[in-house]
């Protein structure tokens, strides 16, 4: 009997040891951190100020996110440039633009905002990136775990993420290219846990009375009638919507493709360039753009990927509309 007790104790110690080894921050692998990062951005209450640096410029925003028993609410304020506030109430988004007295209504599904940049299952990222831990760093006065995502092909950039040691939240996300270094970066400069924020902190600064409430963004999940025949491996369509292209009622299709972290938008709109014109391309920071007239439509892809990726997407765009 005594021997059995010892065996049970030993088994208990082994189980406890194993549990400790699996806990993030105590030697578990990078995938655990990605999973934790993905969950924490939705499940936690947090607030802070973050800076988005790109193309020699920076934009600063204040964020507050609350999960109250499964109900997600949030507010993001632009602190520089034109005043903007994004108010989130579960799946609904309202972006207040006081300078032109517009509130744009939208849905959150398929969107891709810091610090919730991971979309889909983090395990799939391992198919397209070599994921590894890269030591400890500090961001906004907090220790964080560095995670590197190195691309497995030339059709995506690498990422250097830093996840808060205590909560797992993404405190920094840098897009980098081996040759050009860091191309763009989100980083918290202030960060705090906010157990129970007062409701007024989540309200917009303006009532929106008398403003234009633009619901055009709510028209989505439509079959736009176009498909990308050969997107880069791992890129799947996460959003397909129609949006106005001009004041005369013209519409464009916007499809968003993602491999789990990188995002590419493909726009299809009536062609304005002359037929037979050459395709055009450009790049700015991490963004690459490629545009080409196909038939009567202009197909443009833009995203945080190398130029070859957007060119491949546009060149394989195909209309799958039923013929009359």
């Amino acid at each position: 009997m005594k021997r059995l007790q010892w065996l049970l104790m030993l088994a208990g110690l082994l189980v406890a040891g194993s549990a400790c080894a699996d806990a993030p921050g105590r030697g578990s692998d990078a995938l655990d951190w990605l999973l934790r990062m993905s969950r924490s951005s939705q499940a936690m209450n947090y607030g802070g100020v973050f800076t988005f640096t790109h193309d020699g410029r920076s934009e600063t925003s204040r964020i507050l996110h609350v999960n109250d028993g499964g109900s997600e609410r949030g507010k993001v304020e632009a602190l520089d440039g034109p005043p903007r506030e994004l108010i989130r109430e579960n799946s609904q988004i309202a972006v207040y633009q006081p300078d032109n007295r517009v509130v744009k209504l939208d849905r959150v599904e398929g969107r891709h905002f810091f610090p919730s940049l991971l979309t889909g299952s983090p395990t799939q990222l391992r198919d397209w990136y070599n994921v590894s831990l890269a030591g400890i760093d500090r961001v906004a006065g907090r220790e964080c775990q560095l995670i590197r995502l190195e691309p497995r092909d030339a059709l995506r950039f690498g990422y250097r993420l830093c996840a808060d040691n205590e909560t797992g939240l993404m405190l920094r996300a840098a897009v980098e290219d081996g040759a050009r270094g860091v191309l763009q970066q989100f980083v918290f400069t202030e960060f705090e846990m906010v157990p129970a924020p007062a409701p007024e902190r989540l309200r917009p600064s303006w009532s929106g009375d008398g403003w234009l409430w633009d619901r055009s963004g709510l028209v989505q999940d439509v079959d736009g009638g176009w498909q990308i025949g050969s997107p880069p491996a791992g890129f799947r369509k996460v959003l397909d919507l129609r949006r106005p292209v001009d004041a005369r009622g013209g519409m464009m299709i916007q499809q968003v493709y993602s491999d789990g972290i990188a995002a590419v938008s493909v726009f299809i709109e009536p062609a304005r360039s002359p037929a037979g014109g050459a395709p055009s391309e450009s790049r700015r920071g991490a963004l690459s753009l490629y545009s080409w007239r196909i038939g009567e439509q202009q197909v443009t892809a833009i995203g945080e990927v190398p130029p070859a990726a957007v060119a491949q997407m546009v060149r394989s765009a195909v209309s799958v509309k039923n013929k009359p």
Partner: protein, 188 residues
């Protein structure tokens, strides 16, 4: 050079000696008709982009290119296009790099045709497939890249805003800043 040899090369049926001979032949032919092939491929691209309108305005080269495409049977819905069929759709290519470009093109053709979705009974599996296959060929041979021009910065701003509204920041800023910095007033 003939298409049977190229087909064998792509199918991995040539031994090292035969491969080396074929590559040498291709290289020797490069100086002779490089410019003609360049024109043909450019015209194929233009013709496929423009469809029928190109026929009425095109040169003899365009007519020749369209005739080559017209001779090819349209692939059946959902069917695989063989490497040989992919090759047959291409005019004679020359140059040191051409065999590898052809291999890549043919692979892309096969891959893309398998990717083309089938919706109902009216999918553009023939014209659409051929158009996309030609795009892929042009892209992979590098010929399509030669004409690429720089995008209009204002257009770039517009698309950056639209993209970031959905992915990354949720805000439109770039266009507004551009308007502001150029002295224009922000909308009221």
């Amino acid at each position: 050079m003939n298409h049977e040899q190229l087909s064998a090369l792509l199918d991995g049926e040539l031994d090292e000696l035969a491969t080396a001979r074929l590559l040498k032949t291709l290289e020797a032919e490069a100086a002779e008709d490089w410019s003609a092939d360049w024109e043909t491929y450019s015209l194929i691209g233009d013709a496929l982009r423009e469809g029928d309108r190109m026929v009425t305005t095109g040169s003899a080269g365009a007519q020749r290119a369209l005739a080559q495409i017209a001779q090819e049977p349209a692939p059946e819905r959902g069917s695989r296009l063989s490497v040989s069929a992919g090759l047959a759709a291409m005019p004679a290519l020359t140059g040191r790099w051409i065999p590898w470009a052809i291999a890549a093109s043919a692979a892309l053709v096969v891959f893309q045709l398998n990717q083309i979705p089938l919706v109902g009974d009216a999918v553009t599996a023939s014209a659409g497939s051929m158009r996309q296959a030609a795009h892929a060929m042009l892209a992979s041979t590098g010929l399509g890249e030669a004409e690429v021009q720089l995008a209009d910065p204002a257009e770039m701003d517009r698309f950056i805003d639209l993209h970031r509204e959905i992915a990354t920041t949720g805000f439109q800023r770039t266009s507004l800043e551009a308007v502001s910095s150029s002295g224009g007033a922000r909308g009221q």
